[in-house]
């Protein structure tokens, strides 16, 4: 198979799952590059070699698009997209970072769950306290209400804290990844790691 077709096929394969017009746009860039190179008298093999590994280029383009979407939209789906895109880079550094990240995520998840439960408990207690029919409590009416309110607001603030923390974490990981995984070298030096 021709080197150009091979390059374009592997690039297109790597871009699968991206929005169609974005992928078409990217493919056109590289298609044009081959065209210009040919007119300059270079062989397809030479051009493809200088461009580098298409699979890796595709991974970088996807990761960049994922991070970009997270910055634009700030939705859960976008966050997942960014994280999946970053995992796709499968760079060595990330293997060290991933266990730490997973641990942090589990801890945050547990904290968020606890916060939600506490807030919910406060919410349940509150009407009973107001009506002064809270079972098994020796506190006064006001005390019970304050306990209910306190639990509820603690739960809400705990949940909000976890959400803010997650947002900050995703930002941080995005910035870290962008700083570390920008591609420079052609195929030959990729094996040396970036």
């Amino acid at each position: 198979m021709n080197e150009k077709d091979d390059f374009m096929r592997r690039l297109a394969g790597g871009l699968r799952g991206m929005p169609k017009d974005t992928a078409t746009d990217i493919l056109q860039d590289y298609e044009g590059h081959f065209g210009e190179g040919r007119r300059a008298g270079r062989s397809d093999a030479d051009i493809a070699h200088q461009l580098g590994d298409p699979a890796r280029l595709a991974r970088e383009l996807r990761a960049e698009a994922g991070i970009r979407r997270w910055e634009d939209e700030r939705s859960m789906a976008a966050a997942l997209g960014a994280i999946v895109g970053l995992l796709g880079l499968a760079a060595l550094d990330l293997f060290i970072v991933i266990p730490v990240l997973i641990t942090i995520l589990i801890v945050v998840f547990c904290l968020a769950l606890a916060a939600v439960c506490i807030g919910f408990a406060g919410l349940v207690i509150l009407p009973f306290a107001i009506l002064n029919i809270l079972p098994s409590s020796d506190g006064s009416w006001l005390q019970n209400i304050l306990i209910g309110l306190g639990l509820f607001s603690a739960g809400v603030s705990g949940t909000a804290f976890c959400a803010l923390f997650l947002i900050g974490l995703t930002d941080l990981v995005s910035r870290y990844a962008r700083a570390h995984f920008r591609l420079i070298s052609p195929g030959a030096s990729l094996s040396a790691g970036v």
Binding site: H33, R39, L51, E64, I184
Partner: protein, 111 residues
């Protein structure tokens, strides 16, 4: 290639592209082949970089009919890109001067 060199090139690629575009608008292949010669980087890298710069609004694009073949996508520096270039250029000059001063001092000491 030495890992350190890769890091160096990574750092200056943005700056080089901006500087290239300050002199004249250029299309992808032009930028890629010039920078590949100048700082020995993979030509394919330029396209992800240009996409990022376009989204960060450092550059804008327009199409120009080519005498042979399909129209070329030209990149032009935006005002924001110009500002970014000035900042990065100043930082680069400061940095290299500081490093050179240290290197020269080291040479004097040993000779």
């Amino acid at each position: 290639m030495e890992p350190n060199l890769v890091q160096f090139r990574k750092g200056v690629l943005d700056l080089c592209v901006l500087a290239l575009l300050e002199r004249a608008d250029a299309y992808g292949y032009e930028i890629a082949s010039r920078l590949a010669d100048a700082i020995d980087m993979g030509e394919g890298t330029i396209y992800p970089l240009m996409r990022r710069m376009q989204k960060e609004q450092l550059v804008s694009t327009y199409l120009v009919e080519s005498p042979s073949g399909p129209p070329r996508k030209y990149y032009r520096l935006t005002e924001e890109g110009r500002q970014s270039l000035l900042r990065q250029k100043a930082a680069w000059t400061d940095f290299t001067q500081a490093v050179n001063a240290v290197l020269d001092a080291g040479q004097d000491g040993t000779s």
